[in-house]
């Protein structure tokens, strides 16, 4: 089954933090990706810019209105995601355990239509 791992963490502008800090964070993900490759787990994923850069299109009556900011203002936001392909939820949880994350990782099955 395919799952999306959604990585929630405090909003961070990674281009503004000290370069060594950003590199350390990226290196952790590098280790995680190497770990998945070693096990032959198919994956893809992307990091996201901070939620302050988000734009949300909202339905207001019959109209779609462009608004500044993320869908929901939270202390922690979606900072990035992975799509992984594993046998079942137990394996997905095991992979998510190895995934570097700030606050929480939401594991959602992908609806394969």
């Amino acid at each position: 089954m395919k799952y999306m791992l959604m990585l929630f963490e405090p909003d961070t502008d990674w281009t503004a933090v000290a370069p060594e800090e950003a590199e350390a964070a990226l290196a952790e993900h590098g280790v995680f990706c190497a770990w998945m490759r070693e096990r032959g787990i198919p994956y893809s994923g992307e990091p996201l810019r901070e939620s302050a850069t988000a734009t949300t299109l909202r339905r207001v009556g019959a109209e779609l209105v462009v608004t500044d900011g993320p869908f929901a203002e939270l202390k922690e936001n979606l900072g990035g995601f992975y799509i992984i392909e594993v046998k079942d939820l137990d394996e997905a949880i095991e992979v998510a355990r190895h995934c570097p994350t700030g606050t929480a990782t939401e594991i959602r099955p992908i609806w394969e239509v």
Partner: protein
């Protein structure tokens, strides 16, 4: 039987349908041909066939069928393993605890959702929705139908044991409603614990849980007086305790290493060994609570330890210990905290304060029987202040 069919269908709903169809078929077949030598095997085989038929109907691509059938284990119908798989699936930590309990009762124990709703005092549609939602999640989220590997068992087992324990507690002391004890619910929990001991004989905490349930259930005949009011452990008529359950529970607990359930069972066994409340070996109980707080620190256990400490060191020392524990925010709103304080204040002769504490506890208690009891204690304190009540 259901477990065996679930292994085939990988879908609890479809399996339940198949089992129901098998029972219906049995009614017809057995009426004409007589009851077969092994009715259970007949039903299981029929339910499996019904499940396969249903899947054939659903899936026009019959070639996918062999992929869905896991080879039969060589011994019999593989019943114990399937049952265990089903329990671990229903008690998966990815399901919230209320769903785990409801699903286990429905799928493992075969209780209809109406009965489960009644047990947990929620409207039937709410419970039906909870069970449906949980079954949907099992399938959609890919929760596997398997027994955890040995290295996962330590992590997964507590999620199963807490379901059994909660079920038992629900029968023993429902949080709301008026009947304090539902014997049949406790009996189901004990059955489930016995089954787990059979299936996982090498897990000491499973045995510890069974021992704890047996030793707690042994006191049930003495827990309520003739008017249905709860009787404190110290005041219970110990001749009414179930000696058979005590003997069984005590024998189980003797060889166990200290885990959370085993230590609680050991504490219950020490209580059970005292013919009169005055004979209770409090120093041993206090030592066991210290062990419990080491293996499983919890504010409720810390509160119980204070009461044991008060028995050893006196109510004033107990009150001091209690105030330290009461600072724990997790106990805020827990009715047994002011109830414990009230008890110690009463024994220190501070009746005014005791009365207020009993009233506070009554205000927090969710159970009508317990609330009435605490209110009557509060009123009793008012009389005691006047000096006329024999405490």
């Amino acid at each position: 039987m259901l477990a065996t069919v679930v292994r085939l269908t990988r879908d609890v709903d479809a399996a339940q349908d198949a089992v129901q169809e098998a029972f219906a078929a049995a009614l017809d077949a057995w009426r004409t041909a007589g009851v077969p030598a092994n009715p259970g095997a007949w039903l299981t085989a029929t339910a499996r066939r019904k499940a396969v038929d249903a899947r054939r109907r659903e899936e026009s691509v019959a070639r996918r069928l062999p992929l869905l059938i896991v080879p039969e284990p060589s011994t019999g119908y593989g019943f114990p393993d399937d049952r265990l798989r089903l329990i671990f699936t229903c008690c998966h930590p990815a399901l919230d605890i209320a769903s785990r309990v409801a699903l286990t009762l429905n799928v493992v124990c075969g209780l209809p959702t109406a009965d489960i709703a009644h047990l947990f005092l929620v409207p039937e549609p709410t419970m039906a929705a909870r069970v449906t939602r949980a079954k949907r999640k099992l399938r959609a989220a890919g929760i596997p139908y398997r027994i955890p590997r040995d290295d996962e068992l330590a992590e997964r087992l507590p999620a199963v044991l807490v379901v059994v324990y909660l079920l038992f507690s629900q029968g023993h002391t429902p949080g709301r409603g008026t009947a304090l004890t539902a014997a049949d619910v406790a009996a189901r929990a004990i059955d489930l614990a016995r089954l787990l001991v059979l299936l996982l004989p090498d897990e000491p905490e499973v045995t510890g849980l069974l021992a704890l349930l047996l030793l707690t259930d042994a006191r049930r005949p003495a827990r309520l007086d003739a008017d249905g009011a709860p009787v404190l452990l110290a005041d219970q008529d110990r001749t009414r305790w179930d000696r058979e359950l005590i003997a069984e529970g005590t024998a189980l607990v003797e060889e166990l290493p200290p885990g959370p359930y085993a230590v609680q069972a050991a504490i219950a066994a020490v209580h059970a060994a005292a013919a009169r409340a005055a004979d209770t070996d409090w120093p041993t109980i206090l030592r066991l609570y210290d062990v419990l707080l080491r293996v499983h620190p919890s504010p409720v256990a810390a509160l119980a330890r204070c009461m044991a400490y008060a028995e050893v060191a006196g109510p004033a020392a107990g009150l001091d210990a209690l105030e330290a524990v009461a600072a724990d925010q997790r106990l805020a709103g827990y009715h047994l905290l002011p109830a414990a304080r009230a008890d110690l204040l009463r024994r220190s002769g501070r009746f005014d304060e005791a009365s207020r504490a009993y009233a506070e506890a009554a205000g927090l208690a969710g159970n009508a029987v317990e609330r009435e009891y605490l209110l009557s204690r509060s009123a009793g304190m008012a009389t005691a202040v006047g000096g006329s009540l024999d405490l």
